[in-house]
């Protein structure tokens, strides 16, 4: 159960995720779902099994050419993912044991969003808001009212990403805190204090909505 959200901004990209995963033994743990590939590229994974994501993470970390562009790395990544599935699969169980979605985002001169699945199929996504994981239906519903917006400044894109993940956590089973937010370029994971700043901004927006509603009721 996951939500990973990508929001393009005017000169960058923001990726945000929830921070809860379930171990193969059924125990809920806090879990970091967004990882750095290189200074221009980060990736996130939504999977029903953390073992696969950890295996992919290990393989990506071991790549000798991981500083190359996402376009160059695309075929390597698309081979690597099903390779990890195969390594973890038990031959006597013919059904697909691991379902997973991966999203890679890069910002060098231009934004690039690559969506990959556990079988190695992948496609380039348009430079618009994109999400993977079980929290997608609710996140998409929340995002509908923002879809007419032009590209946001990076700071506002971070607020929107945080807000959507936070509100999805409130109503979606299996999607939980802590929220993680990254920005590009360069690839940077927001600090705990920066995340608290976003949390307070979102709480302020909520207060504003309540205050406006109460004014409308009184008038």
């Amino acid at each position: 159960m996951t939500l990973i959200l990508v929001i393009p901004s005017k000169k960058g990209l923001v990726m945000a995720s929830d921070g809860q995963a379930t171990t193969p033994g059924g125990i809920k743990i806090t879990y970091k779902k967004i990882h750095k590939l290189n200074d221009y590229c980060i990736w996130g994974a939504a999977s029903d099994n953390v073992l696969l994501v950890e295996r992919v993470e290990e393989r990506i970390a071991a790549l000798s050419e991981k500083d190359k562009s996402l376009q160059t790395l695309c075929s390597t990544l698309c081979d690597l993912i099903p390779g990890c599935v195969e390594e973890l699969s038990i031959p006597q169980q013919p059904s697909q044991p691991y379902a997973a979605q991966f999203v890679f985002v890069e910002y060098r001169d231009n934004p690039r969003i690559l969506f990959a699945r556990e079988n190695g199929s992948a496609d380039w996504r348009p430079n618009t808001i994109f999400a993977i994981g079980s929290g997608v239906p609710f996140a998409q519903a929340l995002l509908r009212k923002y879809q007419f917006l032009e590209k946001l400044d990076l700071e506002l894109a971070k607020v929107l990403a945080y807000k959507i993940v936070a509100e999805t956590i409130e109503v979606t089973e299996g999607v939980g805190p802590p929220i993680d937010v990254w920005q590009l370029p360069p690839a940077e994971n927001l600090t705990k204090e920066q995340l608290t700043g976003l949390e307070d901004t979102c709480t302020g927006l909520r207060e504003a909505e309540i205050e406006m509603f109460l004014k409308a009721v009184k008038s």
Binding site: E155, L156, V159, A166, E170, T191, K192, E193, Q194, T196, G197, D200, T201, C202, T203, G204, L205, R206, E207, A208, E211, M212
Partner: protein, 144 residues
């Protein structure tokens, strides 16, 4: 002996139990009304909700971890007040003894003014006193 950043937060919470946004704005107004000149104080930037120092967040986290303050859990995602623990009260008392009378007056006045204000009232007070720190605020159009 000068005050540490932890001391300033404890002195604010000694006046009143406040939530995070009120503590942030109190810390800012204390600095602003002291001629924006307090050695080794928090550094503020014009952030999405007005003046913000990310150090305030880290100091609050440290004070909570070290048992000087506590924040009761709350089921709704709203701001919740921080309170001094007994250990925090003792530490705040020690800090009070090291603080000049004039400074205590500023802290007391700021806390008295803002503790009863709601979110918009708080922003209105801060933005009217320090409009240069409202330039990046998402809320400046809503605060009249």
């Amino acid at each position: 002996m000068s005050l540490t950043k932890k001391d300033w937060i404890l002195l604010v919470l000694k006046q009143a139990s406040l939530d995070r946004i009120h503590i942030m704005k109190a810390a800012f107004l204390i600095w602003h009304r002291s001629g924006r000149n307090i050695p080794d104080y928090f550094e503020f930037i014009p952030y999405l909700y007005g003046p913000c120092s990310f150090e305030v967040y880290s100091v609050l986290g440290d004070l909570q971890t070290d048992g000087f303050i506590l924040q009761p859990p709350h089921p709704l995602p709203r701001w919740v007040n921080y309170h001094l623990t007994d250990k925090g009260k003792r530490e705040a008392e020690q800090a009070t003894k090291r603080t000049p009378h004039d400074t205590l007056m500023v802290i007391g006045q700021v806390c008295k003014e803002i503790s009863h204000l709601g979110f918009f009232g708080l922003l209105q007070r801060v933005y009217s006193e320090a409009p240069d720190f409202a330039v990046n605020s998402m809320f400046k159009g809503m605060v009249k």
